[in-house]
């Protein structure tokens, strides 16, 4: 694959990543099956971009995010970060790499220690990675970063419960930024926020990205937000990527039937149109026993017999691709 001109190259390359969870049953706890949460992911994240990972609950998008950071161990595949495989680095080297890869979760109240002052929550990572020579320097940095995200540094000795939901999420962002990361996984980081607070947060994230040259993997189920923030989009279904492309291409001319269904279901805010969702049959099958062939074929409105027999490959083109034998060019 040749990088196109102006391409800043890939910060992260995922090759054939597989994360399965064993299902155990009986008194002997024998493994009776596998939940194929992440099942052969190929993905590139370019330096400085926001890649949105979208899909419905249970499709494996969060497991993929955690697998990239090795918060969950994968069984197979490679995650190349600046060319170095994260899945095979020894633990002592991993620690240093971890500094460059951070994560912000959906629920800041659950992500922050309720008994720890926010100053300590933020500074802990810096201490761990040896950033700043002493407490005074670290406190200085905490204050600067809090100021940058619109928090009052005089409140750094408060506890998480003394802040609003939006402010708490800013604290989590500061905590991630404090260790000077290159890559941040944002796992539904704005989903729990009210509309007006969500707008503040999205603007903040975009500003920080420019300022610090960050790369985001933005995991979400909210396609309205994706359109606004993402440069590229990857759509996941049952542990696999079914379509990948630029945000414009995905929203203007989606090629996979699942992407089309997902987009048609977004409730429009245009008073002239009420959404008429495309019909989708049945429900998402269990990831422990995925259908043969294309994983979407039992629910796909366009499926033909061949779809149930062969698993389509994800096209590997620099601009993105689709995993469907019927996809239009």
């Amino acid at each position: 694959m040749n990088p196109s001109p102006g391409d800043k190259g890939n910060l992260l390359e995922v090759r054939g990543l597989r994360t399965w969870f064993p299902i155990r049953a009986g008194i002997l706890q024998r493994v009776t099956g596998q939940i194929r949460a992440v099942d052969g992911i190929e993905l590139n994240v370019r330096r400085g971009e926001t890649l949105a990972l979208v899909g419905e609950s249970g499709c494996g998008k969060s497991t993929l995010g955690y697998s990239l950071l090795r918060l969950i161990e994968s069984q197979e595949g490679e995650v190349l970060f600046n060319g170095q495989d994260l899945c095979s680095v020894p633990p002592d080297e991993l620690k240093d790499l971890r500094r460059k890869l951070q994560i912000v979760f959906q629920d800041p109240m659950a992500a922050l220690n309720p008994r720890s002052r926010v100053r300590d929550s933020i500074a802990e990572g810096m201490e761990c990675f040896g950033i700043g020579n002493n407490d005074a320097e670290r406190t200085q940095r905490v204050a600067e970063l809090m100021e940058r995200v619109g928090l009052d540094p005089r409140q750094m000795d408060r506890y998480p419960h003394e802040f609003s939901g939006g402010q708490r999420q800013r604290i989590c962002v500061v905590r991630a930024l404090a260790v000077e990361p290159e890559f941040i996984v944002l796992d539904e980081s704005v989903s729990a926020l009210d509309v007006s607070i969500q707008a503040q947060m999205l603007n903040l994230l975009q500003g920080l990205q420019e300022e610090f040259g960050l790369t985001y993997l933005f995991i979400t189920h909210d396609l309205g937000v994706v359109r606004y923030i993402a440069d590229r989009v990857a759509v996941m279904y049952l542990g696999q990527i079914v379509e990948e492309g630029s945000a414009d291409q995905i929203f203007e001319s989606p090629r996979h039937p699942y992407t089309r269904i997902l987009l048609s279901a977004v409730p429009s805010v245009n008073p002239d149109e009420r959404t008429r969702p495309l019909r989708v049959q049945g429900e998402v099958p269990s990831p422990s026993n995925p259908p043969s062939g294309c994983r979407f074929h039992p629910r796909c409105p366009d499926a033909i017999e061949r779809c149930s027999l062969e698993m389509p490959e994800l096209e590997t083109r620099p601009e993105g691709g689709v995993r469907c034998i019927l996809a239009p060019e």
């Binding site: 609003s164 939901g165 402010q167 707008a199 603007n203 189920h221 945000a247 279901a265 805010v269 008073p271």
Partner: protein, 331 residues
């Protein structure tokens, strides 16, 4: 003029508060006046803490203690629900007014088959045999488009997906042919495709059963899908009411306008998203005048002193703002 199905007049509901108020209580809903006609869908929109759910619970008189309704009338077909005895009120709930909630998982009993739960609801309100009630349940399951309805009668809640559980809740709510269905964030916990199916179902059912719906949501997309009329709430008060077209096309209240402008779906990518500065003040610390004044771009000092009067903009559209020109109501 025909009588509305439900009318709220100057409703006020309060909870104890740590804020320094004279009574030690703070009103989280204040001066709410609304009406819903038979068969109409009214959406109550606002951000968390604006009082939309408390308004709904007040209608059913389900405000948990130590919260209480301070004043106002809740007229269901002209009868004030506040004057009813507890047994009389119990007959209204689940009968004339039914309610569905955001979390279908927590609304169902996990150890009882879903069919039996609906049967129980039917037999609580009507004297019918178990067999007849079960037959009705099957009909209801078919009505809410439950796939494989007959087999699903015997399913336990954990065997159903979130969307199907919400269908069970809707079936249960419909079992008494309610005149009003209160739907509190009915699709918020569901995936987009399931949300779209559920909204379509609610749209079909309200037509088929000629049922009014009070839809409570924070999602303007959902409002647009289902509502005939919209009431926007901010900090315990209604700030704007109108038809769906009024509110989406010519919103007049600065809060409604900002809310629409801060939707990522309406914004152009690459342009900074419009943001409303600050956050909603907590109950008890609300400004004396217009409550949006601390975040409003158009307001001045005067706005913070006097509560905004209701201004009528057309026969269907009204707004509570000092800066909006319109016919001021006497009441």
């Amino acid at each position: 003029m025909t009588q509305p199905l439900l009318e709220l007049k100057d409703l006020e509901t309060s909870f104890p508060s740590s804020a320094e108020t004279v009574s030690g209580r703070a009103s989280v809903v204040e001066g709410v006046t609304l009406s819903i006609d038979a068969g109409e869908v009214l959406a109550l929109v606002g951000e968390s803490g604006c009082g939309k759910s408390v308004t709904a619970l007040s209608i059913l008189r389900l405000i948990p203690k130590p919260g209480r309704i301070e004043r106002g009338e809740i007229l269901l077909e002209g009868r004030d629900l506040r004057t009813l005895s507890i047994p009389e009120m119990r007959k209204v709930r689940g009968n004339q007014i039914a309610m569905i909630f955001q979390e279908p998982m927590t609304s169902l009993n996990p150890v009882v088959r879903v069919g039996d739960q609906v049967v129980e609801a039917i037999r609580l309100h009507e004297k019918v045999s178990r067999k007849a009630a079960l037959a009705r349940t099957l009909e209801l399951f078919e009505k809410v488009s439950m796939p494989d309805a007959k087999a699903r009668l015997r399913a336990f809640p954990h065997e159903l997906s979130g969307g199907l559980k919400q269908r069970v809740m809707i079936a249960m709510a419909l079992s008494s042919h309610p005149k009003l269905l209160i739907a509190d964030e009915p699709t918020t916990a569901l995936d987009v495709t399931v949300q779209a199916q559920t909204l379509e179902l609610l749209r079909d059912l309200r037509q088929e059963m000629d049922m009014a719906v009070l839809l409570i949501t924070h999602d303007l997309g959902v409002v647009n899908q289902l509502a005939d009329r919209v009431a926007v709430m901010y900090a315990g008060k209604v700030v704007e009411t109108g038809t769906r077209e009024d509110v989406f096309r010519q919103a007049r209240h600065p809060y409604t306008k900002s809310l629409l402008r801060s939707m990522p779906a309406l914004a152009k990518p690459q342009e900074p998203l419009y943001e409303i500065a600050g956050s909603v003040p907590v109950p008890g610390e609300w400004p004396a005048g217009c409550r949006f004044v601390t975040r409003c771009e158009e307001g001045d000092d005067f706005c913070g002193e006097e509560p905004a009067p209701r201004r009528r903009l057309s026969h269907s559209h009204a707004c509570w703002c000092h800066r909006v020109e319109g016919v001021q109501d006497e009441s």
